[in-house]
Symmetry: C2
Subunit: 421 residues, 2 copies
Amino acid sequence: MGKHKVVVVGGGFGGLQLVHGLDGADVEITLIDRRNHHLFQPLLYQVATTVLATSEIAWPIRRLYRDRKEVTTLLNEVVGVDRGTKTVTLRSGQSVPYDTLVLATGARHAYFGRDEWEDVAPGLKTLEDATTIRRRVLLAFEQAESAVKTSELDALLTFVIIGAGPTGVELAGMIAELANAILPPEFRKIDTTRTRVLLVEAGPRVLPTFSEDLSAYAKASLEKLGVEVRLGQPVTAISEEGVTIGDSFVACRTVIWAAGVQASPAAKWLDVPADRAGRAIVKSDLTIEGDENVFVIGDTALVMQDDGKPVPGIAPAAKQQGAYVAKVIRSRLGGKAAPGPFRYRHQGSLATIGKRAAVIDFGRIKLKGGLAWWIWGLAHIYFLIGTRSRLAVAWSWLWIYLSGQHSARLITQKETLKSER
Amino acid sequence: MGKHKVVVVGGGFGGLQLVHGLDGADVEITLIDRRNHHLFQPLLYQVATTVLATSEIAWPIRRLYRDRKEVTTLLNEVVGVDRGTKTVTLRSGQSVPYDTLVLATGARHAYFGRDEWEDVAPGLKTLEDATTIRRRVLLAFEQAESAVKTSELDALLTFVIIGAGPTGVELAGMIAELANAILPPEFRKIDTTRTRVLLVEAGPRVLPTFSEDLSAYAKASLEKLGVEVRLGQPVTAISEEGVTIGDSFVACRTVIWAAGVQASPAAKWLDVPADRAGRAIVKSDLTIEGDENVFVIGDTALVMQDDGKPVPGIAPAAKQQGAYVAKVIRSRLGGKAAPGPFRYRHQGSLATIGKRAAVIDFGRIKLKGGLAWWIWGLAHIYFLIGTRSRLAVAWSWLWIYLSGQHSARLITQKETLKSER
């Protein structure tokens, strides 16, 4: 009889924490991901805004488990789960058998039924998303330098970010910094400080998961950076010409979507109930109803807290769930009593605004401004994987601090230069 | 009357050296490039083989001239030159007037009339080329880990590099290192040391521009790394199934083209004679016949040396030509006598073989082995632009030396996982 087979789908924060938690357990692990790298998503906006390079926030998954001989990494895509035969079906045709299956397949951005917006308004979830946004932002300034018509120039220098959660706030702040502090000395025909950055939010405030005074501080900080914050105004149309916010049309060439997410199809593979965002509804031990061998964790699971609110779709929550499932598997293998139900401990919410300020909501303790920015920076360096990445990111930030220069300003991937409209 | 207008097309080694040489001259410079970055091509093979990250060998051109207010940088594509009206026509529709025009538009890889080979056998000239090759090399190992059929596994673990100049030799050596030294501990189902790397050359020896004993040393060093060197055997067919070398077919999934280049269409824009590789034939002062206001330099120009051989298409030659043209322009503006004809000084040829050896041919002095490798490394760090890049590359190399790990192993860009053949 072989060892107990654990199949983990998804090499994000939840999946990696699970594999970490199973270190030394008597199991065979197969970790499957569509990508060859784990991505540190909280800093993805810095790739999109030319602060960090792609290689600084991503690690080849199989290298992480070089010395864990019981871990097999597969670059492959899951297309289905057969709970009868206890196998996972891969895009390449093979089946992978499991004794325990953990789905940690995350979420993508969602357009609330307006998928046609995606081409014009990319979201930010993958490295390619980040380099796409970086390319579009930089190309807008480049095309403005060549523009002849004033109307075209204005549209090129207008950036609209939709959604004022942490990602939207962070993108808006950094694009404003780029336009106002980094790029001005490099352009001869345009004045990049004339750039308009609009942050549009359908709800009543920015950073809705933070306390009201931190929201107010974040809004004021963004406005100090020159960002126009439009609250309580839903976007009703997006086209290549611009964005309609409430009733007013804003001509712009660059739109970024930071407004909503949709879970991976894990619930469909399993044929279990899901909420409107596609998250699989799991029991308090993170297994699905009627099958204790299948766990769903992270952004693709709907887990309720005692107060009736769902566990938020953020990295610390996914990590706690990964660690919890590792404990459950260990207790089962050891024939011990299962741990109690999963309980989420909220460790705080963080967001940065530009290069000097941040807000941190630890619940009782709330911080804002420069000190919060330093805590934010140190926390993120701490959570990166490996000495090399920590040094590289710390060094990149220090360099920017000393030189005032962003280093990761490459326009890559092919995109035809458009002629003027 | 405005200042003398110099238009430079191409931000490679030649174009940048020209702009550098005109520092302080009473001119207005417009530098046009299709890319937003200058690329340090001699290290491009290290991006393709996961040693360096893209941002370590590329710099936004406009940042280099941040403090040179007389330099305007345009991200745009030239589609023609009108020598009558003395204007350059851009893809976006505008015209840029010049008093002096310098075309430094480089070369692309060429397939000797077999353009259909490009999809299967990408060349290495741009950052996208490098990330494409990196993706294909890494995906081959990833797909091999999932492969079921032995024939497919063998084809996935076979890499064919066509052309044994410095680029081909460097790629073959690094892929062999990757397979034999970096990847083995990370795979569970395949033995990456079984990888076959074939370096195919139609001519009689590797590194044909080096002395015969250095060629022989390079060949022996490659073979010690496990590379199969096939000399005097032209490639007659390339398909998705494999490569036909002479009469024998080798099944493989990864082919890299390092065999030939074709100059940019500069000669066509100017309507001047060109050689078979498309290089514009220029006079000894690097102007074209009958128009002293138009210079062509670098890989896109055919310049003859006194010994009747053309100046080689390498970075130092382009830089010398850029510096020479700056001198000519300055002497004209100052009403002084023109400098004598352009003379190329060959400073030596360098190539690395894997991570421990290199060959350097300084003419009289010839070096090989570990010492040559150190000189090669220091020379390349010296020629990089800016303190930050020098530190970053030195640090990456030091890290690889200390840890035995390559850091730039991301698979990016979308490519569907293929099912097995």
